[in-house]
């Protein structure tokens, strides 16, 4: 059996004196969405930052297809096939939409099949193709979020990490983003979705881990999405 696309093992991450993540282990495979939900300050973003090499774990391992990426620089993790859609989108507002996409190519491993990948991204987010020549800062929040995901996808990653992609979006835009994530999973990517919208995430993801105070408390499946009592209990556990 081949190793999982991304695997976290007994991970400890500290922010100075504060233990942000403690003993977290989970894995995700190709064609899977794994949700990471929980209240603010639970350690969800710190987990993503550790994967990307922005924070160095004090203990544990992070493996990409079985190979440890701990200690690598963020750009090297990106070039190894992990793309992050950061919190707050982090779009380059002064650059055009097309230039933002071109930046996404920096993490791409191979030049071939670029046109086919671009077309798939445009199919997924037609608005990105339509507004190619506009400054990205002129786009609405929802359009910028689509651009942020498109920019991650043109790198042709194996693993896609998303940090609260629905934050501050109108309900219609949240639908677009979640539908896109479903399509991205069906394409065979491994998707790790950090979200505050617990119910929608649980319904979408193959598994959702509830995180609180730096540890994983509970794992929920899509069948639990309707069970409000379990979810509320998990949040306040």
């Amino acid at each position: 059996m081949s190793p999982p696309a991304l695997e976290l093992e007994d991970l400890d991450v500290r922010h100075g004196a504060v233990a942000a993540v403690r003993g977290v282990s989970f894995a995700l495979d190709r064609g899977e969405i794994v949700g990471l939900i929980g209240p603010n300050g639970a350690g969800k973003s710190s987990t993503l930052h550790a994967v990307m090499g922005l924070l160095r774990p004090v203990k544990g391992d992070i493996r990409l297809h079985g190979t440890s990426v701990v200690g690598r620089r963020p750009e090297d993790v990106a070039r190894a096939g992990v793309a992050l859609v950061p919190e707050g989108r982090r779009i380059y507002g002064e650059l055009t939409v097309a230039e933002n996409l071109r930046l996404g190519l920096a993490g791409r491993r191979a030049r071939r099949d670029l046109d086919a990948d671009l077309k798939r991204v445009y199919d997924l987010f037609p608005v990105v193709e339509e507004f190619r020549q506009r400054p990205a800062g002129a786009l609405s929040g929802g359009q910028q979020q689509q651009l942020a995901i498109a920019r991650a996808l043109v790198a042709d990653p194996d693993v896609l990490l998303l940090d609260e992609p629905s934050l501050g979006l109108a309900p219609l835009m949240v639908d677009i983003v979640f539908d896109a994530l479903r399509a991205i999973r069906d394409r065979g990517l491994a998707v790790l979705l950090v979200e505050q919208r617990a119910q929608r995430t649980v319904a979408l993801a193959d598994r959702s881990h509830v995180m609180s105070n730096g540890t994983l408390r509970l794992t929920l499946g899509p069948e639990d999405a309707a069970d409000t009592t379990t979810m509320v209990a998990a949040y306040f556990a």
């Binding site: 620089r73 750009e75 990106a78 070039r79 793309a83 950061p86 002064e94 920096a106 993490g107 790198a155």
Partner: protein
Amino acid sequence: MIAAVLGIDWRTLADAFALGSIYALMAIGIGLVFGVLRLVNFAYGQLVMAGAFALALASQWGWPVWAGILLCFAVVIVLSLLMDRIVFRPLREQSPAVMLVATFAVAFLLQSIALLWFGSLGKIATSLSFLQRPVTISGVDIRKITIVAMVVAACCLVALVLLLNKTNVGLHMRAAAMDFQTARLLGVRANRVIASAVLISGLLAAIVAVMLTVQTPLVTPDFALRDTIVVLAGVVVGGMNRLVSATLGGFAIGFASGLLGGALPTNQSQYLPSFVFAAVIVVLLIRPGGLFSRPGQAAVDRV
């Protein structure tokens, strides 16, 4: 028109334009590195000085002009890349203050080395002195170097705009200047972007060295030091956060110095820096974000 009011002749105007062009190139060299490293490289003038000594030595050894220029470029570029590798890269994660002090140290180090090797009297670079001779354009005598300086600066500007806008490395440099962390998360290699900026900045320093030695053939260890300080003031006045505004600031202060230098009586030209810096203070009081920065834009990471 302004020229007529101040009683400035065409020759002074051309000289001021040339000085502005040279200072604009220095401003770009400083601004490019500031963009990606958020660091004011105070050792920039010493790079120019090293290039100028290379030219002086080459002319002393009787080398042909092209070989001297080649040596100048080689010396400045090797020094720039060494500076990146030995100083900037290991200290990049440190606070801006640490890096700033480090560039001061490099500046003094290079100046002391020059003092040890060449003495305080300096050397004379004569191989390009033919550019001091004037050509007559519609009745006005203009030194060749003024024309060369303006043409070279214009070519450098066009090349740089093309590089920044049309190439991947240019796009990566622009993105890194706006938000370095996101650029790295997208796979942009930090070391390569910084090395590119330092390399281009070094190329510009070498070009500046060639043109300044024509203007001032006597090369001493404090060569280009005053120019660097004036350009730094210009860059701050123009607005450090954007390359365009920093460049305009460099040009403006060079142009203003040139005009004032021509307008002030010779016995008062020693007060020129006072006039220039008085103008700098006034501008910063009125527009702290920089003369050419966009209104409402926050003045961040200013040194």
